[in-house]
């Protein structure tokens, strides 16, 4: 059972890295980016090409995925997304759905529609026993990497100047501008980092979640659940929400395989009935 | 005698500010009751409290003997309490015909009927035409409300409230913003309201107040300052002092012979 807990934690932390970019985007820019999963997919496929075909070592492939996806995110943000910032929520939903469809079809065209696997180094393969718990090496890597990232994000947010600028922009963009904070730059940077994290998550997650062109559509729900349940005003909210979902999903699929998928959806709906603004969200003035 | 509408110890606090303070006001049946007071006195807050748009911090509201303090807005309308807004709140895309028709079918409970066609009930149609004629809107009844001149919109605002067949009607500055040429129409319709409808009128224009009201309440800083017959209120020096003390602008107006 502890093995399941371990696997659930790994899954949850992976979800966190994947989804936190979406959470921050939503919280900062009040923008519903349903195409977030596409960036994750991009990161996954970039790593695939680098590692499988160009022989780049796996551990180098991960940071490259982050940077490359961040750059893609920055470019998209400046050229496309910026036009829809002031649009209605409906516009944003339609726009990002359109981007998802385009990216899914494009990847299908370029890379084919079958599921692909990134060659992971042998040191990460297999599992070992620790106190009777089966520890998958790859999952251990995920927990370590994602844990470090989570801590780093929290430190950046609370400890650095950029972090305080970001928190100011989240709280009230107009006032932040009035204080001389370049809110647009903050947004662009945040979007880029969020996309980069998604890309990293996609690369890391290929082994566990499976990577194919329909990735953004398959996992979009999970990201949205994390954001909705965890709220958008902190790092800890989505973090805890991701863990909850990760553990619930893995446990659900193991103990009640017929209804495993329902566990997540049911939890989500129950939580939303009880607390429409999410488990951890502040009551915001927006 | 049961008042048509009364408040008992009504209070509303926004943050630390008391917008309405221990207000006990009674509107008699069939009354023409005016509520006046300087700007910021809380008159619109009182109306919002009465209609349920805003919930009170304390106190009760009683409509014809029934406590409506906790009732939702639409339920209060169903029990016979209607209001107009100082700034028109109309359905700009609908025509006066549709607007009044909607109010009537809501009142009759057929508003949610999706299987019947509009205009299939002769009783409703007749009532619509009557009300529109009463408010001089017959010639514009097919026009889109947003295209109507402001005076006509104002008339529609009142017509809409009347279409709800209220027993108590709250009029918030009915003639506000209406060009002089169209004012008399508004005033005439207000004067011609059915005698069994109790009316609470908020107004700044003292001519209207004194020609219309049989009772005046003066609201200052959210509390009831004076309440009585028009002659008594007009003569009371404290009333003038309150308006005078309000601001320099008001003082100038006073000097030129106008109060408020």
């Amino acid at each position: 059972m502890l093995t399941i807990l371990f696997d659930g934690i790994a899954y949850g932390m992976l979800l966190f890295v994947l989804a936190c970019g979406l959470s921050v985007t939503l919280g900062v820019m009040n923008f519903v980016n349903l195409a977030h999963g596409a960036f994750a997919m991009a990161g996954g496929y970039i790593t695939l090409v680098l590692v499988n075909r160009a022989g780049v070592p796996f551990f180098a492939g991960l940071p490259i995925a982050f940077v490359a996806t961040a750059i893609i995110g920055a470019v998209f943000e400046r050229t496309l997304y910026v036009h829809v910032y002031n649009g209605t929520p409906l516009d944003q939903v339609l726009f990002t759905i359109g981007l998802v469809f385009m990216s899914v079809a494009a990847v299908d065209y370029v890379m084919g529609s079958q599921q692909v696997f990134i060659q992971i180094p042998s040191v990460l393969q297999g599992r070992f026993e620790l106190f009777g718990i089966g520890i998958g090496r790859y999952r251990l890597l995920i927990i370590i990497v994602c844990g470090v990232l989570a801590v780093a994000l929290q430190l950046i947010l609370s400890g650095t100047r950029f972090g305080s600028r970001l928190r100011a922009s989240v709280d009230d963009a107009r006032v932040a501008r009035g204080l001389g904070i370049d809110v647009n730059r903050v947004f662009a940077l945040t979007f880029a980092v969020g996309s980069g994290l998604a890309g990293l998550g996609g690369a890391l997650g290929a082994e566990i979640l499976g990577l194919d062109p329909t990735f953004p559509l398959k996992y979009m729900v999970y990201f949205l659940i994390v954001v909705t349940v965890g709220g958008t005003s902190s790092i800890t909210g989505p973090f805890l929400a991701s863990l909850l979902i990760g553990i619930a999903d893995v446990a659900g699929k193991y103990y009640v395989p017929k209804f495993g998928a329902f566990v997540i959806y049911t939890i989500m709906i129950v939580l939303l009935i009880l607390r429409p603004q999410g488990l951890f969200a502040r009551a915001s003035s927006r | 005698m049961t008042a048509a509408l009364e408040t008992i110890g009504l209070e509303k606090h926004f943050g630390g500010i008391a917008a309405v303070n221990q207000l006990s006001l009674a509107i008699a049946k069939g009354a023409r009751h005016a509520l006046i007071g300087p700007n910021g006195a809380g008159k619109t807050t009182v109306i919002n409290l009465l209609t349920g748009v805003v919930r009170p911090s304390a106190g009760r509201i009683v409509l014809e003997g029934e406590d409506i303090t906790k009732l939702d807005t639409h339920k209060r309308v169903q029990r016979g309490l209607a209001r107009t807004f100082q700034i028109n709140q109309l359905f700009l895309d609908l025509t006066p015909l549709e607007t009044v028709g909607l109010a009537i079918s809501e009142r009759m409970g057929s508003g949610s009927h999706w299987w019947r066609l509009v205009g299939s009930s002769p009783a409703v149609t007749e009532e619509i035409v009557d009300i529109l004629a009463q408010f001089h809107l017959s010639d514009v009844m097919y026009e889109r409300t947003g295209n109507l001149p402001y005076g006509k919109q104002r008339l529609l605002e009142i017509a809409l409230a009347i279409a709800c067949r209220p027993r108590v009607l709250l009029l918030d500055e009915p003639a506000a913003g209406v060009p002089d040429a169209e004012r008399h129409e508004i005033l005439a319709t207000v004067a011609a309201l059915p005698a069994d409808v109790s009316v609470l009128l908020i107004e700044h224009d003292m001519d209207i107040v004194f020609s219309f009201a049989d009772r005046i309440s003066v609201l200052v800083n959210g509390a009831l300052f004076i309440d009585g017959a028009p002659e008594d209120v007009a003569r009371d020096p404290r009333v003038k002092a309150v308006y005078l003390g309000e601001s320099l602008n008001h003082a100038v107006e006073y000097e030129t012979g106008r109060v408020g």
Partner: protein, 358 residues
């Protein structure tokens, strides 16, 4: 303009001789796609009820569509209800029950919450269908469905003629009723000025619940039409793609203007047909591109173009009409509809003023 639409739709049923022969055979050969347009139009209309009027963005409207679809297919397969029209109504009612049950969830919370809840419901429905393969046929779909003749008299033929008339009749009845009812009027009022609506005695919450339930009914009927005209039901009736495509259909035609769904259905199907012939595998890319372009160009601008086209057409049709007043009214209607294009939440939040200020 509206009459022209229905006249065209109904005359396309018949095959005419003489100089109309070629035109009418063009249509009668395409009854299959016209049937799809008919139920898709109804489906879009049902979404317009909640999106264009109640301002609820739903990513899961396919839940009701799919439920109606499976219900109708199962009724036919297991001979529970043999007559299609009856099965249609019952399937719609079942979908309406689901709509009613979930309407309370959808009323609460902000946009994102509602997005999630609607999506979640559709996914749950899909998963339920997936997990009961004995009942639903699972991923392969429900096979072996035979549909009895409509009203016991008109059997469905492979050219889809009967199907088309059937769908069109249903669509006509349901669409016109709602648009010209007091209910439809009250929907426009709630969208335009919710504050005022509650102050003429309308309970907004119960009205919204009613809209949602009714929208679910219409969607269920549309799904049942699909099942009955194709004698098949599969998991993709619940899919996200279907809900997303539906959004596109509605947006193309215009939300908040109940005929927008029908117009959007026509355009979408034609577009889909054309693109699918070019690139059958990747048509999703082009659909995505269309969505992106529509948003970038701006729905209002597109709406104005449509309005201009509509009023030009109306003027052409009415050119023999001597009554200037009716022409004026017609033109005014076109402009109203264009300005109501942006059937969005914006309207509701703007209208939330409390009036007066002392």
């Amino acid at each position: 303009m509206e009459y022209a639409f229905w006249v065209a739709a109904f005359t396309s049923i018949f095959a005419f001789g003489g100089w109309l022969a070629e035109l009418s055979s063009f249509f009668s050969n395409r009854h299959l796609i016209l049937t799809e347009i008919a139920w898709l139009g109804l489906f879009a209309l049902s979404l317009d009820l909640i999106l264009g009027y109640a301002g609820i963005i739903s990513l899961g409207h396919a839940a009701f569509f799919g439920l109606g679809s499976y219900a109708a297919a199962l009724f036919a397969k297991h001979a529970i209800i043999n007559e299609p029209v009856l099965a249609l109504i019952v399937s719609g009612c079942i979908a309406a029950l689901l709509g009613f049950a979930t309407s309370f969830l959808v009323l609460r919370g902000a946009d994102l919450t509602r997005l999630m809840v609607t999506l979640g419901i559709a996914l749950i429905m899909r998963e339920i269908a997936n997990q009961l393969p004995d009942l639903t046929g699972g991923a392969d779909g429900l096979q072996g469905v035979t549909i009895a003749p409509v009203l016991g008299m008109f059997a469905f033929d492979i050219f889809g003629h009967v199907a088309y008339v059937y769908c069109l009749a249903v669509l006509f009845l349901l669409a016109r009723r709602i648009v010209y009812s007091p209910f439809g009027l009250s929907l426009r009022a709630v969208k335009g000025n919710p504050l005022r609506s509650s102050l003429i005695g309308m309970s907004i919450n119960s009205r919204l619940i009613a809209i949602y339930t009714l929208a679910a009914f219409y969607a269920g009927v549309a799904g049942a039409l699909l099942a009955q005209t194709t004698a098949f039901a599969s998991l993709d009736v619940f899919s996200f793609e279907r809900s997303a495509d539906l959004l596109l259909v509605l947006i193309i035609g215009g939300a908040g203007y109940l005929y927008g769904g029908l117009i959007g259905a026509v355009i979408f199907k034609l577009m889909q047909d054309w693109i699918a012939n070019l690139t059958p595998q990747y048509w999703q890319f082009w659909i995505g591109l269309v969505l992106v372009l529509i948003v970038l160009i701006g729905r209002e601008r597109i709406g104005l173009w449509f309005a201009m086209a509509r009023s030009l057409a109306a003027r052409a049709l009415h050119s023999s009409d001597k009554s200037g007043a009716s022409l004026l009214r017609e033109q005014r209607n076109e402009l109203h509809h264009a300005s109501r294009w942006n059937g969005d939440i914006d309207h509701r939040s703007e209208a939330r003023r409390s009036g007066g200020d002392h």
